[in-house]
């Protein structure tokens, strides 16, 4: 199985890789996940703009929205045998950072702010991030985003302007305390399931088999496959239509596929630099 980049560095401290399985076949589009995330992570509200795009007024994942529920109104029956009444269906999907096995954002981050945690998740460290934004275009899903907020003097957490990058941490702090992430905990129908990734994949396979047997129209797993372009998602999905329908890239590829060689070159250069610096000190002393 593909190992998440950087996860192996924890040796003894490594914990079981965890993630989300978001099963859209039971999502009721309530947005509890969006609110639970914001309440827990103290994410600022994302503006009061009515989009007219079904019931989605959040629009997309961003620095201020780490869970986003997409709504798709379709003229398609729920089941392939035509059952389900009016032939109308309303797909809802709670999107989130995919916590990729091969995460481009991680690769390009020059500060070490973006890193792989001991749980195999991908987190931006706010005490490190300098807002350079290299990671933003690197993400094949458009998850990473810089926070541009006017300072809010009344709210200590947002007292100064912020240009850093923010995204889902899979509730890193909660994981450290042994708690499940806020969105998964709140989800009324357990559309968002949290757990060890391996277990979630098994659960998802069983779920897909059940839905296929029942004839659900378009049921498919997205990001479950460790052999895909990003080595599988740490947060993957069961969709009821093609990914594009939900605004997801159909075949995401880690944008830094060729980076390892580049880094090797850089390290060689860095090594040379160390020698050079040391020599300079030594030289200075003498």
């Amino acid at each position: 199985m593909t190992v998440a980049d950087g996860w192996e560095t924890y040796a003894d401290e490594q914990r079981e890789r965890v993630g989300f399985f978001t099963d859209t076949s039971v999502c009721i589009g309530c947005k509890a996940c969006e609110v639970a995330c914001k309440e827990w992570n103290l994410v600022p509200d994302d503006g009061h703009v009515w989009t007219g795009n079904s019931y989605d007024n959040t629009g997309e994942l961003s620095a201020n929205t780490w869970r986003h529920v997409a709504f798709v109104e379709q003229e398609k029956p729920l089941l392939t045998n035509g059952d389900g009444g009016t032939g109308l269906r309303w797909l809802m999907e709670s999107d989130v950072c995919k916590h990729c096995t091969h995460a481009a954002c991680l690769d390009v981050c020059p500060t070490g702010s973006l890193f792989r945690t001991e749980f195999g998740t991908v987190v931006v460290q706010q005490d490190i991030c300098n807002g350079c934004g290299y990671c933003v275009p690197a993400c094949p899903f458009g998850v990473l985003d810089k926070r541009h907020l006017a300072p809010a003097p009344d709210l200590p957490a947002f007292a100064k302007e912020d240009g850093r990058v923010w995204k889902c941490t899979l509730c890193y702090d909660r994981l450290k305390g042994g708690h499940e992430p806020a969105c998964a905990k709140a989800c009324p129908t357990k559309s968002i399931q949290f757990g060890p990734l391996e277990e979630l994949r098994e659960r998802a396979d069983a779920r897909l088999a059940k839905l296929e047997a029942e004839g659900w129209n378009g049921a498919q797993l997205y990001g479950r496959d460790p052999e895909d372009g990003v080595g599988g998602f740490g947060a993957f999905f069961l969709l009821l239509d093609e990914p594009e329908v939900y605004g997801l890239p159909p075949d995401p590829i880690v944008t830094t596929r060729d980076l390892p060689e580049m880094w090797t070159n850089m390290l060689a250069a860095a090594g040379a630099l160390v020698v050079g610096v040391a020599a300079a000190f030594v030289g200075g002393r003498s």
């Binding site: 980049d5 950087g6 996860w7 192996e8 560095t9 924890y10 040796a11 401290e13 309530c30 947005k31 509890a32 969006e34 609110v35 639970a36 309440e39 827990w40 991680l106 690769d107 070490g112 702010s113 890193f115 792989r116 945690t117 001991e118 987190v123 460290q125 706010q126 005490d127 490190i128 009344d154 509730c171 890193y172 702090d173 909660r174 450290k176 305390g177 708690h179 806020a182 905990k185 709140a186 989800c187 009324p188 357990k190 390892p260 880094w263 390290l267 860095a270 160390v274 040391a278 000190f281 002393r285």
Partner: protein, 191 residues
């Protein structure tokens, strides 16, 4: 000088990456001080108080986390057989409701024909309201109806509300109003 050099080199990410078996700086080597010491704030709460969601009538269980006299977080109570720890967006936002930027903390008073709110102490407000009730009631008391039947009431005062109030609060409302002969006691259940 050597110490300084050594510390400088230690903190240099590239070296830390090499030493910690994380040559690419993707994992442990770049874990920041904050990341290393993260503690979820629910673990830092002084009290955890079981509560019930104030929105709809599903009656979800809540756990209210308190520190320094303030609510630091609210989430679902897994022990509830009804909600099993889950909450909807409203229930999940109930801390933000209690700390709404629009929340009012002071009595506001608008005098007849006034064009603005004025300040008023809670104590004065209570006295004035008590006085209004006593006076309106005295002025409009009906011992009998127009048909000569017993009435024992005032039809000039009404009370509206109760569906998001506690049973104990409703009990006192109905008891007090009945004692005062105020019969127009109504709430959202009618609506």
């Amino acid at each position: 000088m050597a110490m300084e050099l050594s510390r400088l080199l230690e903190s240099w990410p590239a070296l830390r990456q090499l030493r910690e078996g994380d040559p690419l700086g993707l994992g442990k080597a770049v874990q920041s001080p904050r990341s290393q010491s993260l503690v979820p704030r629910i673990d830092e709460a002084e009290h955890v108080v079981p509560s019930i969601c104030p929105y709809c009538a599903v009656g979800c269980g809540q756990l209210v986390y308190v520190k320094d006299g303030a609510v630091t977080h609210i989430e679902g109570d897994p022990a509830s057989p009804i909600s099993r720890g889950r909450l909807c967006p409203k229930g999940q936002a109930s801390k933000s409701y209690a700390y709404s930027p629009l929340r009012e903390y002071k009595v506001k008073y608008r005098r007849p024909y006034g064009t603005r709110w004025e300040e008023l102490s809670l104590d004065d407000a209570m006295d004035m309201i008590a006085e209004r009730i006593v006076e309106t009631r005295a002025d409009t008391w009906e011992t009998e109806t127009e048909d000569g039947n017993p009435a024992n009431r005032t039809m000039a005062i009404g009370n509206l509300g109760g569906a998001t109030l506690d049973n104990e609060e409703n009990y006192l409302i109905k008891k007090l109003m009945t004692g005062l002969g105020i019969v127009q006691v109504e709430n959202q259940a009618r609506i």
